[in-house]
């Protein structure tokens, strides 16, 4: 668990981060979302002490982050930034091996870990291990950046706009991959973005920041149902809030026992997607099925719509 206790950062007269306190749960994805200049990146960098707080403190599993030298702390925390910052003079394998090497792992263990990560991130070791970063596509560089951050099996992963430079299709894939990685390694992820869609898609909890303050820190649905500040409503948007709400619930969660003549919908699909399918097909209800085709129940249009209201 990461605890931020009234963290502030001041540069002369201006306060960039103002008295922020957050509890970030273990094995979850927390998204900090805000406009540029809201202080979200500064807040993130205070967690791994790339920026030292002016006041307040950060605890990771109850331990003050100032208890050890900053560079040793950072070896235990993964860090991914927008430009990835891959070492241009090092191969993909060497880039990924950076932190394990710093930690003095044995060569065989490093090699095994690099091979495992290349596989997890769908980079053929034979083809890419010895490549230099500039020989990779943007999406591949991004994956190497995340693989490098995860190499030493950190419990915490900090990500600053990690998908900002990707085109929409590759971005959606990278976001799905991140969800998969989080489940696989159980990493606690704190991610900074300016994109509300990304926040809703990835965040177990979302912190909305403006002018150095966290205005609301809650589950995504609560930001829609019970916004505590007009700025939160502005960020989430009023026009499609019902659809956003539907996008947060999976078909499997909402399915009720029974069967239907309508189209089949995957249990992992969101209600928003299920509704879209029903609108398109003109049916009144859909069958919910698992990935292997077993029936999980059914969903009616009316039931879906009821989920779109607070």
């Amino acid at each position: 668990m990461i605890t931020l206790e009234s963290l502030s950062k001041r540069y002369g007269e201006s306060t960039v981060v103002n008295q922020v306190s957050l509890e970030i749960e273990r094995n979850s994805i927390t998204v900090i979302v805000g406009t540029s200049g809201s202080g979200k990146s500064t807040l993130l960098r205070m967690i791994n002490r790339l920026i030292e707080p002016s006041s307040g403190r950060v605890l990771i599993d109850g331990r003050d982050t100032r208890a050890e030298p900053a560079h040793l702390l950072r070896r235990r925390i993964g860090y991914v930034i927008q430009g990835y910052g891959l070492f241009p003079h090092r191969t993909v394998a060497e880039n990924i091996a950076t932190v394990p090497r710093l930690l003095g792992w044995e060569a065989a263990r490093i090699a095994a870990r690099v091979a495992e990560l290349l596989e997890v991130f769908q980079l053929d070791p034979g083809k890419y291990a010895a490549s230099l970063p500039h020989e990779l596509s943007g999406g591949q560089q991004q994956r190497v950046g995340v693989a490098r951050a995860l190499a030493a099996e950190p419990a915490v992963l900090l990500m600053d706009e990690p998908f900002g430079a990707l085109d929409p299709i590759i971005r959606a894939k990278a976001q799905d991959d991140l969800l998969g990685i989080q489940r696989r390694f159980g990493t606690t992820i704190v991610l900074v973005t300016h994109d509300m869609d990304e926040a809703f898609r990835l965040g177990d909890k979302v912190a909305v920041m403006s002018q150095g303050r966290v205005l609301q820190y809650d589950r995504p649905a609560m930001l829609l149902i019970r916004p505590t500040d007009p700025f939160v409503t502005r960020m989430t948007g009023l026009a499609d809030r019902a659809l956003r709400l539907l996008s947060l619930i999976s078909a499997a969660e909402a399915a009720v026992p029974g069967t239907s003549e309508g189209p089949a919908v995957q249990g992992s699909a969101s209600l928003r997607d299920a509704l879209s399918e029903l609108v398109w097909s003109g049916a009144d209800s859909a069958r919910v099925v698992d990935a292997d085709g077993t029936a999980r129940g059914c969903l009616t249009v009316a039931a879906i719509l009821a989920h779109g209201r607070p």
């Binding site: 950072r74 930034i81 910052g85 891959l86 710093l102």
Partner: protein
């Protein structure tokens, strides 16, 4: 390869010419004889040309090594947060080294350290600082910020970041600075002979004193050939080093 061939031929020819001249200078006597008057010797005969050339090369290399250590050290210092305040001072010092004519440095140095190699080393050292310093500065300053941030973010200490990331990335520019400095100084080193440093300058000065155009020309020619070949060899070494750096 076929594109490189004329350059390679020229390179080998220049090297062959230099070696031939240094090892068997007398075989070039007929070429230089028309430039002499009153039966003066066409080839320098008061010392071994090969020894002089090697001495000059040695002086230049020692001076360049010292310049590199100091200039790169200063470049690293002033690009650290704590050393940034020394930038104007370092720049001034290095610029003085370049603007102060080497001849004047010799004149000032001789009373302090005596005649011979030492004043020449000092003059060349001061003269060679600027290109290395400025190139080191540019190289370190143009490291991509995202790369530096990632390095720190992953837990490289300041020292590890410098040696594992910043210096390797700045290396092409640093090497270029060293090459410039070396080549400039091969030529400049000839003036060391005015204060009794061993070198090909001796031949030129002997020529000037005895109005022997042949001496002046062969001294200049040999120095020029050495500079060109050195430049060429260092460029090749640079390319090679960069390849191993990127593959390592």
């Amino acid at each position: 390869m076929s594109v490189l061939r004329p350059a390679t031929v020229l390179r080998v020819a220049a090297l062959a010419l230099l070696i031939a001249f240094l090892v068997t200078p007398q075989s070039f006597a007929p070429l230089f004889a028309p430039l002499t008057q009153y039966g003066a010797p066409p080839i320098y005969d008061q010392g071994n040309l090969l020894t002089l050339a090697l001495a000059q090369l040695g002086t230049v290399c020692v001076a360049a090594a010292a310049s590199t250590v100091v200039a790169v050290g200063l470049g690293v210092l002033v690009t650290r947060q704590r050393g940034a305040q020394f930038l104007p001072l370092s720049r001034t010092l290095v610029n003085i080294g370049q603007t102060f004519p080497p001849v004047a440095v010799l004149a000032v140095a001789v009373p302090l350290v005596g005649f011979g190699e030492r004043p020449t080393l000092i003059a060349l050292f001061a003269y060679g600082l600027l290109p290395i310093f400025e190139n080191t500065l540019v190289g370190l300053r143009t490291c991509p910020p995202a790369v530096l941030e990632a390095a720190s973010g992953m837990g490289l200490s300041a020292r590890q970041r410098l040696f594992a990331v910043e210096l390797p990335l700045a290396m092409p520019l640093i090497l270029e600075g060293v090459r410039l400095s070396l080549v400039i100084n091969v030529g400049t080193a000839t003036i060391g002979s005015t204060v009794a440093a061993k070198g090909l300058g001796e031949v030129i000065i002997a020529g000037l004193l005895s109005s022997n155009t042949a001496f002046i020309l062969q001294g200049g020619l040999l120095t020029g050939l050495m500079a060109i070949l050195l430049y060429d060899a260092l460029s090749a070494l640079e390319r090679r080093l960069l390849r191993t750096l990127t593959l390592d």
